[in-house]
């Protein structure tokens, strides 16, 4: 395998540093961020077939927010927390990708 000089990097494991190469997967890894409890994010790409809430509305935990059609199923998306809807980033008929922030709730 061909190796370039600049491929070798300092890599710390606990208290020591080692000269090594990195894998592509490691280089592209995402840094962890604490998820916000009020963010309702799509787990599948799909279509919004019904929207039940609007901005400013108070919702209770477990309340139906919208119906998201994906994988041949009308998936019921419910509120993860009680609070006030502060953002709605979808409309009925919208096609959305995975990991899309659909609704933001400000927890009470």
């Amino acid at each position: 395998m061909e190796q370039k000089e600049n491929e070798w990097v300092d890599f710390a494991v606990t208290a020591r540093k080692y000269k090594t190469k990195l894998t592509t997967k490691y280089k592209n890894r995402k840094v962890w961020h604490k998820p916000f409890i009020g963010d309702v994010i799509s787990l599948l790409p799909g279509t919004i077939v019904k929207l039940e809430v609007s901005v400013g509305q108070e919702v209770k935990v477990g309340q139906l927010l919208l119906i998201h059609q994906a994988m041949k199923m009308y998936n019921q998306i419910v509120a993860p927390v009680s609070g006030r809807v502060v953002e709605v980033n979808v409309t009925e008929g919208n096609q959305i990708p995975k990991d899309h922030l659909m609704i933001k709730i400000e927890p009470k």
Binding site: V13, L44, M71, K72, K98
Partner: protein, 515 residues
């Protein structure tokens, strides 16, 4: 005569000293953290007066860094035997009050001794983990100790049930003992499991994360899948362990204990639980409650990969394992995590003579770049392997959708299912009507004046012709198309019929499952 009473008195005094573990102050600290002491944990789990302790007087091995002058009662671990609902078990509990429950060579040897005992006596082994990690002062002796435990976990795997409770920290190499065992129990705010802690992650990678977010109970129950049972208190956790023990056999040569057969007690009507429209979600656990004895179902890994449901119930008084797609979560797809979850459970059931009932309603494998790149091929294959390899009675009921690779994977006839039932609402086909019509009738649709109308017409035609159980039934891939109400009676019949089932595989050292 007087001499004997003196000796007994001396023994009692020595025992009392060691049984105090790390002493009153350390015990107070342990209790302040919401934790029981090691001995109290064992006593809470076992039948009253059934605990017999081993190796109370073992001394530690440390000779360096002033350790030779220190006394560590019981070397920081309590081991012994007892019973749970009359079932014999071997048990050990690390004692955090003694040098932080740290593991030295003799501590480990106490554990390996009780593990060897469990393997010889063919009874379950329960480990309660609460330890700061390797006893650094003992150096490589501590590492040797861990290795000897892992080796026994592996050798005992599939022979006796192995249960791990994480009731405190369990960090670094220590995590691999629970990881090798069959069931891991965690408790909110008490369990912490990780390979490297937040401090190291912060200094090396600059990622800032709390201990709870990195390896708390919820994380392992919900995100990593390392934990099988999650409880809010130690007492709840002990109740979960005891309940699990009633469902599993003592070893791989026996069957689980039989109970009296009980009719399901749910008010739910099996004919209305599952919506006819294949696009409408429902909770598949309601179907399980409609068919299991007493509607009793012990779910495993409830929060992780919830798109598949696994767990134990009883049919006619005998333990069965349920594997069911969950349309309520991610439409019930198979993906990397749900495949891992199902495959491991199927292999547990097969190892311990527990028949498997599969309830199928799934649209297929989850598409997506992240899934493909996460290795859904490799993970998905585990389900095929586990079902094909299993020789316990295997029964499938197709409730609604059974499409494509998912149909094959979910214990199909082709993987060796013994009984294949389908409800009249079943749709067994190579792919969903929309996708299939677009491919098969591509030319007709392209040439039509009104393409959308033609597409709809062809989709309808496909649904009528293929989205049903009768095409598969006509090939004998399905044994019977049944009415939902008949499900329990037919499952009981099938289980009765397969009590003496024998099926052999070619002799081999071991297979090579894709893990």
């Amino acid at each position: 005569m007087t001499d004997l009473s003196k000796n007994i008195q001396a023994l009692r005094e020595m025992k009392a000293v060691v049984e105090m573990g790390g002493g009153e102050k350390a015990i107070e600290k342990q209790i302040a953290m919401g934790k029981l002491t090691a001995r109290d944990r064992i006593l809470s789990l076992l039948d009253e007066n059934s605990f017999h302790e081993y190796d109370l007087f073992v001394k530690h091995d440390g000779r360096d860094f002033g350790m030779d002058k220190k006394d560590l009662p019981g070397d920081g671990v309590v081991t012994g035997t007892g019973t749970i609902f009359g079932a014999p078990v071997c048990i050990y509990a690390q004692d955090f009050t003694v040098a932080g429950g740290s593991l030295g060579l003799q501590h480990a040897r106490k554990i390996t001794k009780i593990m060897d005992h469990a393997l010889k006596m063919k009874c379950p082994i329960i480990g309660i983990n609460d330890s700061g990690g390797a006893r650094i002062q003992e150096g490589v002796g501590a590492l040797a100790g861990y290795g000897e435990i892992f080796y026994r976990n592996t050798i005992a795997s599939g022979v006796i049930p192995q249960i791990s409770l994480i009731l405190g920290p369990c960090a670094g190499g220590a995590v691999y003992s629970p990881a090798l065992t069959d069931f891991v129990f965690v408790v909110e705010n008490i369990s912490k499991m990780f390979i490297t802690g937040p401090n190291v992650i912060k200094t090396v990678l600059g990622e800032d994360i709390s201990m709870e977010d990195l390896g708390g109970a919820r994380v392992h129950a919900e995100t990593t899948g390392n934990a099988h049972f999650y409880a809010l208190s130690e007492q709840e956790c002990f109740e979960q362990v005891k309940r699990l023990i009633t469902f599993i056999p003592w070893n791989n040569q026996q069957r689980a204990k039989s109970f009296e057969s009980k009719e399901p007690k749910t008010d739910l009507n099996i004919e209305t639980v599952v919506p006819v429209d294949p696009k409408q979600p429902y909770d598949v656990r309601d179907v399980i409650r409609c068919i299991a004895d007493d509607s009793d179902f012990l779910e495993i890994q409830e929060m992780w990969a919830a798109n598949i449901v696994i767990g134990f119930g009883r049919m006619g008084g005998e333990t069965v394992g349920f594997v069911a797609n969950q349309p309520m979560v991610l439409a019930g797809v198979l993906d990397c995590d749900s495949a891992d979850k199902a495959a491991r459970f199927i292999r547990f059931c097969d190892s311990f003579n527990i028949p498997i009932i599969t309830l199928e309603d799934m649209p297929g494998y989850l598409p997506g770049v992240d899934q493909e790149h996460a290795g859904v091929i490799r993970h998905g294959a585990k389900v095929l392997y586990a079902y094909s390899e299993a020789t316990v009675p295997k029964i499938t009921v197709i409730l609604r959708k059974a499409y494509g690779g998912g149909y094959i994977a979910m214990n199909s006839r082709h993987l060796g299912a013994d009984f294949m039932f389908a409800w009249p609402t079943a749709e067994i086909a190579v792919m969903g009507p929309e996708g299939a019509a677009n491919i098969i009738f591509r030319k007709e649709i392209m040439e039509a004046e009104d393409q959308e109308a033609m597409r709809q017409e062809k989709v309808k035609e496909y649904i009528e012709k293929f989205a049903n159980p009768y095409v598969a039934a006509s090939r004998g891939f399905i044994d019977s198309v049944i009415e939902p109400k008949e499900t329990r009676a037919l499952l009981l019949h099938a289980l009765k019929l397969s009590v003496l089932k024998e099926e052999y595989r070619p002799a081999k050292k071991h297979g090579l499952p894709p893990f």
